[in-house]
Amino acid sequence: MTIGAVTEAPVSVDQPRTRRRSYGRYALGKSVGALGSLGFVLVVNFFLFRILPGDPGRNLGRGRMDSAEDLAAFNEAYGLDQALPQQFLTFVRGTLSGDLGTSLRYRVPVSDLLVDRMWPTLLLVGTATLLATLIGVWIGVIGAWNRGGRFDRFSTGGSLTLYSMPEWWLGLLLIATLAVGIGPIPGLFPTGGLSSPGVDATSLMGTFDVAWHLALPVTTLTLAYVADYSLIMRSSLLDEIGEDYLTTARAKGLRDVQVRNRHAVRNALLPTTTLVALNIGFVVTGAITVETVFSIPGLGLLSTEALEVPDYPVLQGAFLVASAAVIVANLAANLVYGVLDPRVRA
């Protein structure tokens, strides 16, 4: 279910349809397709991680479960001794009833673990994506409108530089300067983590505390993402700039800003919308490098660490959530497209 797939919808000219019915059918088709993808992901997740080398019992039990009986007891307790088809059935049955199993490493229900780790990731990546979209679009618009100008040259160069800079390195630079302090700059931000110990996260103070902790990681991610949006926005706006309707608008005596915002940008926004829709799906997959550098307990970190064990239930759960998010975001984009542009339903 990619955005590209929407143009491949079957064309049936023979049946005359009302507009509403055809949208219903379109939506149904897309939804069924999305469900199919989800089912496929479910199956692939299970077998994919079991092909990986690695025996959880041996990895976790090195120096702990000294005898063969101890290892066997561990495997039995967590269902690892069953035949693969049996394990698969248990997994499918559990997942359908909302039970994602128990983490092999942390020994707590996977769903609890995922919920715990999801909100830091949502806050971090979500905020960064939002900021990057706003700033990126703005930079792209200004840059394209003043193509070749000082701002354009500076912003294009700058965003490309940030784009190609490793996120962890940028993060470390920010920590060394703004968190620890250097020369005349005092250390203003925490070096890592999501909140101060002992502060109630639900209070007003807690909210500010989290925002204070997230300032540097969000800045890092935003800087890294900005080029994505600014470059796309810039190029799609450049495509519009020579168009006749802009000349007409100017001839009407509109302000430059109005010409830009009401006419040019509106038409140039479509590719950016696609990008945003796609990226929203990836918000829950987390940002592994930034989560690592700033020690933010998010989903990205959780899944990379689960790979070491390998912690099958956690991997399955994390990938299921991530795939579901991408699939749902795509579905939403498809459905919105269907409304915005009836041609894709044809």
Binding site: P53, R64, D66, D70, T102, P190, T191, S196, P197
Partner: protein, 678 residues
């Protein structure tokens, strides 16, 4: 008898140690930081210069006024909660908080489930056990038990318990709690996996009265009287069934601390989380600790943790690399050391991989490494000093046998004439004697004249040390006219290769417990196909292993263990390269009275037991440290307690200034017309 996590495992400390992330170079930071600041200032000045012009525009003045008003409103609103935070000066009532940076998460607060060393530290803070470990040499010492005695035949052990211990919810601690805890372990399930080895051979746990526990054995256990099993409160755990325990988190709920008996109480934290907070137990039987709070923060990479220590956000960093220790040494107010940790790293050979069911050989070991004489000769082809200097950055000690020097009683030292020196001539001579002579092509051959071929030396991708050691080894083998190749594998892959017997040699390591039985067991025939990774099997060794397990007389047991090491040394399934160390750094300008374990030369945290948390003091009380030997006296200079509040205020201010600047630029741009640009 594992009390702690294994260092070299895929999840162990090794990764932390070798995670050689690039370091930020000082001058780069400086230049960039200054430029950034100048840039912002420049932008501000530019904005101010143009403001006059923009005010002329229609509605412009009103827009700016509204915007400025809004911005100041936000500034005030955000500063207000900051100001209500404790002001930097009010130190009187501030709790003394000791903040530790870990590089690895706690995997479970349930003492029956976790595996990581960090988890053992948490349990030891939450729960006491019948016996503890001494600081000097990790020998058993009284804890919840004040003393113990054994019967003549060594089959009955009677422990006398303290009568002044209460659980943190007010209930009295009694022998019933002990028998309940041990009963759960003896019943099997996850409880037995973690602690069962300490109760091997126990047939009955009796409690004649509230302060007496009698253990009956069917076979003498040489690990007694050591009983480091955390005692859990029966009145809390009796509601948790055998099936529930395998996913029971044992975490604080509704702000209530976990009920325990230890010096501290867990008030905040979840398995795999990034912050764990403990409050002091004001009724602790050993005396109230001198700090009010311990906070553990998990840093997922080393550099930020070090930065946090320098800044003062954390007071202690655990498990850092030797390079970082070197960089931190000599800094004012920071003490950085590489503490000896009781573990070793080794080059292991394939001493004979077999199918454990049929006894038939499996895998494809080079015939040369199957020969003990060949393996032993290579013991002299290792320049261990250079390995320590280069691969270990100078931290750690050169290795010889599988029991590290920290356990002086059990340790066997090779005689001077066989000591593992770097002596290629001796190695060559031993190889010649064993029939591995240099052939026509300039390479050594097998005794039957066939070429040896290239030995496969396997390293681990997650450990640069491992790769460095193997590359050195390759060089020295070449000087002995033996061809070899080095390959690195991911730990999981290497484990499989080892179990399939498809290797000649690999590099890995083990952590060694105060009771040596676990480590010794990995070299027995019973462990073939299990934890044995060298496929070493020797009946005489196994006989000694059984003997030492049920030897009551400590001196006799030590002699047996030493004899086992001697066998291993000359059969050489392992060439022990190094005894590892753990890098630690802490703020000696804030805390004092920390002691190493073993003392001297050992580690400060993640010890056996939690003595340091109980005995440490704020630096102002440094002269009250108990005892003299080994306790660190620190310079006096108090830390900057107001850092967080100030940082919060100023940091918030900077964010708002940036937003304000950005808003200004946007506003300015919006008003422009074509004419302004062209």
């Amino acid at each position: 008898m594992s009390n702690r996590s294994v260092v070299p495992g895929p999840l162990g400390g090794e990764m932390g140690r070798d995670l050689g992330g690039p370091r930020v170079v000082e001058p780069v930071k400086r230049v960039r930081a200054r430029d950034a600041v100048l840039g912002v200032l420049e932008g501000f000045r530019a904005g101010q210069r143009r403001r006059g012009r923009r005010l002329i525009g229609r509605h412009g003045g009103q827009g700016i006024a509204v915007r400025l008003f809004a911005v100041f409103g936000v500034v005030l609103a955000s500063l207000a909660p900051g100001l209500t935070l404790s002001p930097a000066g009010a130190a009187e009532s501030d709790p003394v908080r000791f903040t530790v940076a870990y590089l690895n998460e706690v995997d479970s607060f349930n003492p029956f489930l976790g595996i990581e060393a960090e988890s053992f530290e948490m349990w030891a803070l939450m729960y006491d056990s019948l016996t503890g470990y001494t600081m000097a040499d990790m020998a058993p010492e009284p804890s919840l038990a004040t003393g113990w005695e054994t019967s003549e035949d060594g089959l009955t052990w009677t422990y006398t318990l303290r009568d002044d211990v209460t659980w943190s919810d007010g209930e009295q601690f009694t022998s019933e709690d002990v028998s309940y805890t041990y009963g759960r372990i003896l019943d099997g399930g996850p409880e037995r996996t973690t602690w069962g080895s300490y109760l091997k051979g126990v047939t009955d746990v009796a409690t004649p009265d509230d302060t007496t526990v009698v253990l009956t054995f069917d076979k003498v256990s040489s690990s007694m009287p050591l009983l480091p099993i955390p005692i859990i409160p029966e009145h809390v755990w009796s509601s948790i069934s055998e099936d529930e325990v395998k996913s029971f988190g044992n975490e604080p709920t509704d702000g209530q601390p976990v009920v325990g008996s230890g010096a501290f109480r867990l008030v905040e934290g979840t398995a795999g989380g990034s912050t764990y907070r403990f409050e002091v137990n004001p009724d602790y039987w050993e005396g109230v600790p001198h700090i009010d709070e311990i906070v553990f923060r998990v840093y997922k990479s080393e550099d930020p943790a070090i930065q946090a220590l320098i800044k003062g956000e954390v007071d202690f960093v655990e498990g850092i690399s030797a390079l970082q220790v070197k960089a931190l040494q000599g800094r004012d107010g920071i003490e950085a050391t590489n503490g000896d940790s009781p573990g070793f790293d080794e080059i292991s050979f394939n001493a004979g991989s077999i199918d454990t069911k049929t006894g038939e050989p499996i895998g494809d070991p080079n015939p040369a490494v199957l020969d003990p004489a060949f393996r032993y000769a290579l013991n002299f082809a290792l320049d261990r000093d250079q390995i320590i200097d280069v691969a270990y950055q100078g931290a750690g000690q050169t290795g010889s046998t599988i029991i590290p020097p920290a356990y002086a009683g059990y340790r066997w030292e090779p005689p001077a004439e066989d000591a593992p020196t770097f002596d290629l001539e001796k190695a060559a001579q031993l190889l010649d004697e064993a029939g591995y002579t240099v052939g026509d092509d300039g390479f050594r051959t097998l005794p039957n004249g066939d070429p040896i071929g290239a030995l496969r030396l396997y390293a681990r991708t997650d450990s640069q040390t491992s790769l460095d050691v193997m590359e050195f080894f390759q060089e020295w083998l070449a000087q002995l006219d033996i061809d070899s190749e080095v390959r690195a594998f991911e730990s999981n892959n290497l484990t499989k290769i080892i179990l399939d017997g498809n290797f000649d040699a690999f590099e890995w390591g083990w952590y060694v417990e105060p009771d040596p039985t676990s480590m010794l067991s990995y070299m027995t025939c019973d462990q073939l196909g299990g934890w044995s990774d060298s496929w070493y099997c020797n009946e005489d060794y196994d006989a000694l292993f059984d003997q030492q397990q049920s030897e009551v007389d400590l001196a006799a047991r030590e002699a047996q263990v030493q004899q086992m090491q001697e066998m291993l040394y000359y059969d050489a399934p392992y060439l022990v390269t190094a005894y590892s160390s753990v890098g630690e750094a802490w703020r000696s300008d804030r805390f004092a009275c920390l002691q190493q374990q073993p003392d001297p030369g050992g580690v400060y945290l993640i010890q056996y037991g939690v003595h340091n948390y109980v005995n440490m003091r704020p630096v102002a009380e440094a002269d009250e440290c108990a005892g003299d030997s080994g306790l660190t006296q620190a310079a006096s200079e108090s830390g900057d307690d107001g850092g967080i509040t100030t940082g919060f205020l100023v940091g918030g201010g900077v964010v708002l200034l940036v937003l304000l600047g950005a808003g200004g630029v946007v506003a300015m741009r919006r008003r422009g017309t074509v004419g302004n640009r062209e």
